[in-house]
Symmetry: C2
Subunit: 181 residues, 2 copies
DNA sequence: TAACGGTGTGTACGCTCGTACGCATGCCAT
DNA sequence: ATGGCATGCGTACGAGCGTACACACCGTTA
């Protein structure tokens, strides 16, 4: 009967959901798997999140906000003095080549792409997209360019993740150069 | 006891799998749902495809080959005389705006993106990617451009499908123009 | 013609799942 | 202080799942 009053429980459940998706993919997400990961009884997860969609929404929102967002993290690693292309190539390589970051990126796309079949996730996906565009606009000074850049980077990252092929720095640089000077 | 000898059964099971994924998404794929859609007993699907992954692989391969491929269909609708940008804008709009084509595209991405968590699908995803690049190279005469184009189109289509936002012809045209003349 | 083996069929087992529901607990407004 | 109520807990039910397996069928080959 421990932990009878646990104000952070809801939050811990969301954290557990994220880690479950990260480790096992969205298919592995269930009330039970999350309950086990969060070390709470089953009834607790169903109480806080009536349906799995609700939990998924909370998880996606959390991944897309706060200081752990990829947007924020990207911005932290981009040096405004450096040419944008150089920074992006470095960042993308980091995303794909580093084991930890790779699984983080995979997690993000796992959640992001879930919107393909779940209409309720679409507004959140759209908001994320806008955030990315807004961030890149600060560097490109041009929203159209930023928009193109986001699409291109999405496509590139997905290709790398889906095919499992190695990161080809020069090819990526050449590709990005076509959109930004 | 009808249909005791049914040489096309395996093929029909694959077709049924594709239509199940198309209607219910990959989550809806199970030996049982496929058996029902193909109108064969459960044991028949497990006989021809021991695991769901095997069935998924067969489905993905079928979607990516033959005259019904999107690659082939795209090429059929592209007029070599017309500027590539114009043709692509028209094609993309068709993909997203027409109900039938939209669900077809969603099906393809559903299967394609499944490779994110299933290593066995990655070679097929890679092959598909190469086919797309090869096709576009016939128009751009330049593989690097084609490669960029594929990434960009993937990103664009996914954004449209994920956010459910309407197709903005001029914006898409502007985006594509950055990569091809 | 006889036996072999690929194919088709039906059923059963054990598991996980979402969901529902009754009860316990103790904060908080009254 | 007390009663309402949000929260926490445990259990149960029915459904769907992958898988396994025994048996039926019949073309092929010997």
């Amino acid at each position: 009967m421990a932990r009878r009053y646990d104000p952070d429980r809801r939050q811990r459940i969301v954290d557990a959901a994220i880690s479950v998706v990260s480790e096992r993919g969205i298919d592995g997400l269930s009330h039970r798997s999350v309950a086990a990961a969060a070390d709470v009884p089953l009834g607790s997860t169903t109480y806080h999140f009536a349906t799995l969609d609700d939990l998924l929404i909370a998880a996606l929102q959390q991944v897309n906000s706060g200081p752990t967002t990829s947007v924020a993290s990207w911005e932290r690693h981009l040096d405004p003095a450096e040419p944008l292309v150089d920074g992006l190539v470095r960042l993308l390589e980091h995303c794909v080549a580093t084991t930890g970051d790779r699984s983080r990126v995979r997690l993000e796309y796992d959640l992001y792409l879930a919107a393909l079949r779940r209409e309720r996730l679409q507004p959140i996906a759209a908001a994320w997209l806008d955030e990315m565009v807004e961030m890149f606009t600060r560097y490109t000074k041009d929203e159209a360019t930023a928009r193109t850049l986001v699409a291109l980077i999405d496509g590139l990252l997905l290709q790398l993740l889906l095919t499992g092929r190695p990161f080809d720095r020069e090819q990526v640089r050449a590709t990005l150069s076509r959109v930004i000077g």
